[in-house]
């Protein structure tokens, strides 16, 4: 999806440090030289078009609660079925098929470690597949934002 120059600028400027003041969108709109209501409309349509998943905070996993990366090796013909079962489990916020014997990769979250283990045990039991459990040991780079190379996009 192609975005116009203002939308690109909006994303370049505000992947971090969104203003925390009474009228944050007004402050942002001044930086872009547009009106507040135009800025809000642009955010709304970026959100509606799935360019933005949301405006707001990214919580630090290790402080926000418990989470880990998990994987299962699903029989190839049951990939969609197993993925749907995983999505039904509480606390799953990412779930991708990947090219490997371990072909489904998901992130499971919970308010605390004990609940996390219980959720994984329960899911393992339902799926009748062993779950590879890979908690984070150390983060070297945890910032989910990166500079978008607009020129390189299709």
């Amino acid at each position: 999806m192609r975005l116009d120059a203002t939308d690109q600028q909006l994303i370049n400027f505000f992947q971090r440090d969104l203003p925390v003041c009474e009228r944050p969108y007004e402050a942002m709109s001044r930086q872009l030289g547009i009106a507040e209501d135009e800025l809000i409309q642009r955010l709304q349509s970026l959100q509606d078009n799935q360019v933005l998943s949301r405006v707001g905070p990214v919580f630090e996993h290790s402080q926000a609660g418990a989470s880990l990366l998990a994987a299962v090796a699903a029989p190839h013909e049951q990939l969609d079925l197993v993925a749907a079962r995983i999505n039904r489990a509480p606390g799953v916020n990412h779930n991708y098929a990947r090219e490997h014997t371990y072909n489904l990769w998901f992130v499971m979250t919970a308010p605390d470690e004990e609940t996390l283990d219980e959720r994984l045990d329960e899911l393992e039991h339902q799926l009748r597949l062993p779950i590879l459990r890979l908690p984070m040991v150390q983060a070297y780079h945890i910032d989910l934002s990166f500079e978008i190379d607009w020129e390189a996009l299709p």
Partner: protein, 180 residues
């Protein structure tokens, strides 16, 4: 979860004159924030209304959560796939234990790497202890970025595997507070 048991919530807002129900209000605020900031001229006032706090309390809480690192980034959360970053590879590495920190830091400093974590090995079945994520517009571009990462940093001796994603079944922000 009872938030009064969680230390960071007890310490979260020392300078707000805490009403008896402040903890519950903060819990409601957390839950609303995980879903995103409302797109209305006074979003913090809207959050305040939904969580039973004042607008000032909401802004102070968010600033303090940022300072404490509970909120690591506050801004637009982009879905790169929609923009045309169609390929994403999780690259996993079997790094000698005494080198993992150096290699991890090197990768983290490389522009094409968006995430880099150390995780435990799981026996012969899963020998990899370092994970990084590379996003690109297509598979070829991701592979050439990976090749540069390897040659620029002398990582040829480290066994690795490339796991391209073929389908996203779910992609959303973490929801740690109960939303039921």
């Amino acid at each position: 979860m009872n938030l009064s048991d969680v230390p960071e919530y007890q310490a979260a807002i020392p300078d707000i004159a805490a009403g008896p129900d402040n903890t519950e209000g903060l819990l409601r605020l957390r839950r609303q924030l995980e879903l995103g900031l409302p797109l209305t001229p006074r979003p913090y006032a809207k959050l305040a209304e939904m969580s039973g706090l004042s607008e000032q309390q909401v802004m102070i809480a968010i600033r303090q959560w940022q300072t404490q690192g509970l909120i690591k980034r506050f801004g637009l959360v982009v879905r790169h796939r929609t923009l045309g970053y169609a390929a994403n590879a999780m690259v996993v590495w079997d790094v000698p234990d005494d080198q993992v920190q150096d290699v991890g830091q090197t990768m983290a400093g490389t522009a094409c790497v968006t995430l880099c974590y150390q995780r435990p090995r799981r026996g012969l079945d899963w020998p990899y202890n370092l994970f990084c994520m590379i996003h690109g517009t297509d598979r070829q571009r991701v592979l050439s970025q990976l090749q540069s990462l390897i040659t620029d940093n002398g990582l040829q001796h480290i066994p690795h595997a490339v796991l391209f994603s073929t389908k996203a079944y779910r992609q959303r922000g973490g929801r740690y507070v109960s939303h039921s």
